[in-house]
């Protein structure tokens, strides 16, 4: 709050004071008053006004400077109204009341959306649990009536199951509260579960599996990690070459982390696109041409879930020479003391 702006704001008041002083001087002149009295009179009025304005100016300056300063330091700017002490001048009080009112209304509005989002997430989770029952039943029927037709339906059921799982984790990933448990998991066990889950398509596509160096413990949520690996294996299946398909899975322990490598010899990712594969909704040129269209959600979710679990995911590809996905599990030597 600069003095210049304050003066500008009060220019009419100054003008009126000047007019009043001039008018009274003219009056005193016509009354033939002594010049000392005239100057004393004029000075008294002007000095009183200046004192009044200065007091008002410093009071306001102190108040607004504090507000601006606090606002600057605040992380969540909307909380500023909580920081303002009740001002002792009228328009300041109005400002504070407006801010309080606005904030209250905003909080109500935000809570409404929060509630709606929460309800929607709950509905999605409920729906997912409901839909799993008919899927389980269908799978049992298929198992009890094995033939070529049901086998083919079984593959489609697997796809449905995968899409549903994606939706479930999408709903979970947008949520702030933790619904996962970090505990000691054996890498071999996680990888085996994922391979078993995809056995139908892996066997059908004649993909050779090479596993080594997986006898390592990591700290993560088993289910979430399984979901992440599942997305990557499915990509490897989706973008495989025509012949000699192979997926190699191995891990390596470093000083501060454990890295799980999933290496395939599929069609790979174009170098111009590799930086964007974790973006939501991004489908590369390969994704648009594959038999099964890419949704651009899988890797985006992987990245998001990895971040929540404190893990990292990286991808490397040499044009048309397959790709390597690296999942980095943090390792803290202190954890082993527990």
């Amino acid at each position: 709050m600069s003095f210049k702006n304050y003066m500008k704001d009060h220019c009419y008041t100054f003008l009126f004071i000047l007019v009043a002083v001039t008018a009274s001087e003219i009056f005193l002149l016509t009354c033939k008053m002594h010049w000392v009295i005239r100057i004393y009179f004029a000075l008294a009025i002007i000095l009183a006004c200046i004192a009044g304005f200065l007091m008002d100016y410093f009071k306001r300056r102190k108040f607004y400077n504090k507000v601006l300063n606090d606002l600057d330091k605040l992380d969540q700017k909307y909380l500023i109204h909580e920081m303002i002490a009740r001002p002792d001048f009228f328009d300041g009080v109005i400002l504070k009341e407006i801010l309080d009112e606005v904030n209250k209304s905003m909080v109500e509005q935000v809570n409404l959306y929060k509630l709606q989002q929460e309800e929607y997430k709950e509905y999605i989770e409920l729906w997912i649990h409901e839909i799993k029952i008919p899927i389980a039943t269908s799978k049992m029927i298929i198992e009890n009536h094995k033939n070529e037709v049901t086998q083919s339906i079984d593959e489609e059921m697997d796809k449905i199951e995968n899409f549903i799982e994606q939706a479930l984790y999408y709903a979970r990933s947008n949520h702030v509260e933790k619904d996962y448990i970090i505990k000691k998991c054996h890498l071999q066990e996680i990888v085996s579960e994922v391979l078993k889950k995809n056995k139908n398509s892996l066997i059908k596509e004649k993909i050779k599996i090479e596993l080594h160096d997986l006898d390592i413990d990591v700290y993560t949520d088993f289910k979430w990690c399984q979901f992440i690996l599942n997305q990557i294996i499915q990509n490897s299946i989706k973008y495989s070459q025509k012949e000699n398909k192979e997926i190699e899975i191995y891990a390596n322990t470093y000083k501060d982390n454990v890295v799980l490598y999933l290496k395939d010899n599929g069609i790979g990712i174009k170098s111009s696109e590799i930086t964007r594969v974790f973006e939501k909704g991004f489908t590369g040129s390969n994704g648009r041409n594959a038999n099964q269209k890419s949704t651009g959600i899988g890797l985006y979710l992987c990245k998001k879930l990895c971040e929540k679990l404190g893990m990292n995911i990286k991808i490397q590809s040499k044009n048309e020479n397959g790709c390597i996905v690296m999942i980095v599990f943090p390792k803290d030597s202190r954890i082993e003391l527990l």
Partner: protein
Amino acid sequence: MIKIGIVEDDKKLREELSIFLSKNGYEAMILTEFDNMISSILNSNCKLILLDINLPYFDGEYILKEIRKVSDIPIIMMTSRDNEIDELLSMNYGADDYVTKPFNIQILLAKIAAILKRTLKIDTNQNIIDCQDFILNISKSKVQKGNEEIELTKNELKILHFLVQKRGEIVAREDLMKYLWDSESFIDDNTLTVNITRLRNKLEEIHLSNMIETKRGQGYILK
């Protein structure tokens, strides 16, 4: 036959589950008195219970807790809720195991077998199987015929075991591979061929030739 109780509110699912268990050598019993499930389970004389979590009247977790107060009957929880927290809760309430819907059927069977083995000391996967022409010793991974015996590798043993279980039926290569994958041998097509050839050669060593016959385009059959 070992009686297994099924507590599941979805009619079709419990019926299909019961058919599946019957096909795999168990006696399945469907329990439907949901308003009186606890005494119904306790009086059923089942050796193992498959218990759903979302049930009318009382939920599965409550039933499990109440049963654990009086009985140690093995219980496998079935649920469509797929997260670690629910799993942990169930295990804390005293469930013996936990499967999520839709379940991998082979894994469900394996879990049932493992629990029965532990609780009833009945080994559903017998360690020594008498196959008339030869004896399959699973714990030692050996095939014996008279005084002669051969040692099998892990994969060869699994293949022979599966063929023995399905003796007289044609076993599709794909089914054989799926079985191997479920028991964590992630082998490919070529490796399976190699393993079958080796197995045949080994069987021939103890004069068991032409036991495994190839049905072109269909699979293998153990005569």
